[in-house]
């Protein structure tokens, strides 16, 4: 995912990226030496608490702000360069449009900014209006659009000219459940074309259905990254034991991360149900007496909250 094995030129390459916002006498370090390499055709969930640096990170990749330190390259080109911008589509958290323009006129305007010919503009506009189910509202002024419709229009604009990288900042804001499902379908279609999608969202349950690759940002740093790590903590296996056994069990389960331990048992992080027989048999073979086993499957939201709390405590 993040190794760039598939492509010689990674879609995103960030090296030691730092961003400090200065305002008067105060300085806020929004990102702190973040390095990341993303190859093509992946969907990555960017998650973290408010103020973690998610929007800053997306803004830096999109070239909207400058890094204080480090370098960012998009498809091999420096961020903010014309070539980098040609490769990406971006949806800000609260997309703003010219209120007097209709959805069609807005799309045609942005398509023109891509340098497309008149015929290509018409073709792209019709394709995206249909794909995002905006045909019905195509000739209405954008000023009267609901937040959900604005998000769909923003997504249509971001998809103009088939970008190789799509950056989405809270794209499901204001979308109804049907809109969320459609968004998911569109993003999976985009991924199938070989494009990379980075999606920042607070509605973590939605991300879980899109991807297993996450970037956890906390206080401007990447806390966890890579699907194996995230997946490795997707389940909590609660093992109940006879008194005195938990310590022995913990020593035996060195390849599993201990999460809780008490007199009556312990909880370890496992990848999923497939790990349960392995854990149980290794304990039984060592003579540990088990009185009960329960797998508490965690979704990404619970995992994130736990990682966040653990990170906060450390």
């Amino acid at each position: 995912m993040n190794g760039g094995e598939k492509d010689a030129v990674p879609v995103i390459e960030c090296r030691e990226v730092t961003k400090v916002y200065r305002g008067g006498k105060t300085a806020v370090r929004a990102l702190d030496r973040v390095s990341l390499r993303v190859s093509g055709g992946t969907i990555i969930g960017l998650i973290g608490p408010n103020g973690a640096g998610k929007t800053t990170f997306l803004s830096l990749i999109a070239g909207l702000i400058f890094p204080t330190g480090g370098t960012i390259r998009v498809c091999g080109h420096p961020a903010r360069s014309l070539e980098a911008r040609r490769s990406l589509g971006y949806i800000p958290e609260s997309p703003a449009f010219l209120a007097r323009y209709s959805a069609r006129a807005m799309l045609e305007y942005h398509a023109a900014l891509h340098g497309l010919s008149r015929a290509a503009i018409r073709e792209e506009t019709d394709r995206l209006l249909a794909q995002l189910r905006l045909e019905e509202y195509a000739d209405r002024a954008v000023g009267g659009f609901s937040l959900g419709m604005r998000q769909r229009l923003a997504l249509a604009i971001a998809l103009l000219d088939r970008p190789r990288l799509l950056l989405l900042d809270e794209p499901s804001n204001g979308l109804d459940p049907l809109g969320v499902i459609e968004l998911r379908q569109v993003l999976l279609e985009v991924q199938r074309t070989g494009a990379t999608v980075i999606i920042s969202s607070h509605r973590l349950g939605e991300l879980e259905r899109l991807t297993s690759d996450y970037v956890f940002l906390h206080q401007g740093r990447i806390v966890e990254f890579a699907s194996e790590l995230a997946a490795g903590q997707m389940g909590r296996l609660r093992i109940e034991l006879l008194p005195g056994s938990p310590l022995v069990a913990e020593e035996l389960l060195t390849s599993y991360r201990p999460l809780e331990m008490s007199e009556a048992g312990l909880v370890v992080g496992v990848g999923g149900v497939q790990d349960v027989p392995r854990v149980v048999s290794s304990l039984v073979q060592a003579g540990v007496q088990i009185t009960g086993v329960a797998l508490e499957a965690q979704d990404i939201e619970q995992t994130f909250v736990r990682l966040y709390q653990e990170g906060d405590g450390s």
């Binding site: 929007t55 999109a62 909207l64 702000i65 400058f66 040609r86 800000p92 305007y109 942005h110 008149r118």
Partner: protein, 244 residues
């Protein structure tokens, strides 16, 4: 298509722009009800002040500042358009609006003056050119200020800065007319500020042909200079989100 879209956008970006044009043009007709004697009122000079100096401040209000404050620039700045193109085509859009506006206003004034005989239209074509030149200079200055000032405050800031720059001039002329400081201040205002004085002299025919051509060239260069500063600022501008 890119240039066309950006030029048209300067006209369509706000409903108020059409209203401003109509209001400005509408202001000419009622003035013809006043029985100006031919020597007391010069329509060319009025056009210069009304449409050449005031109109650009109304049309360029928030031209970048509003986009930046509303977050629209966060969508625009990721499009494959060089930032200098954004600036240049927007300024060109304003300049073209001015050209159409001045030609319409000029035709209106010519017809009404011919019908009523009120005021004079001496050197009207030169005044039209001077009005377009001063419009472009003010528009470039205001557009550049708009890159660093949020919302529509750019026009207000230009007005306040103009007042702040001219008030000391009157004081200096009143109390220190012959001092070297006053002379330097006048030179700086004359050549670095929007060339109102030089173009008024051009309109009134109080300069030689080379002097007039020099004023035209100076005005165009100054517009380009203001634009270059705006482009530089735009390239160095960050388009941040309100939250993170």
């Amino acid at each position: 298509m890119k240039a066309h879209a950006l030029i048209i956008e300067t006209f369509r970006r706000r409903q108020a722009i059409l209203i401003i044009h109509l209001a400005w043009l509408g202001a000419y007709a009622p003035l013809f009800l006043i029985p100006f004697p031919p020597k007391a009122w010069q329509w060319g000079g009025f056009l210069f002040a009304w449409s050449g100096c005031l109109l650009p401040l109304a049309l360029s209000a928030g031209i970048f500042g509003h986009d930046i404050a509303s977050g629209r620039m966060r969508l625009l700045a990721t499009e494959p358009v060089r930032l200098w193109e954004f600036y240049l085509y927007r300024l060109l859009g304003l300049s073209l609006q001015a050209a159409v506006h001045l030609l319409t206003a000029g035709t209106l004034i010519l017809v009404l003056q011919r019908l009523t005989g009120r005021g004079n239209i001496d050197r009207f074509a030169v005044w039209l050119l001077a009005s377009w030149l001063i419009f472009s200079a003010w528009a470039a200055l205001s557009t550049s200020v708009s890159v660093v000032v949020s919302r529509e405050h750019n026009s207000m800031l230009v007005v306040l800065a103009t007042i702040a720059a001219t008030f000391p001039l009157y004081m200096l002329l009143l109390f220190f007319e012959d001092s070297i400081g006053t002379k330097i201040y006048i030179v700086v205002l004359r050549y670095a500020g929007p060339p109102v004085e030089l173009l008024v002299r051009l309109g009134r025919g109080r300069c030689s042909l080379p002097g007039g051509l020099g004023s035209i060239a100076h005005s165009l260069l100054l517009t380009a200079f203001y634009a270059a500063i705006g482009i530089l600022l735009l390239n160095r501008r960050e388009f941040t989100a309100i939250k993170d």
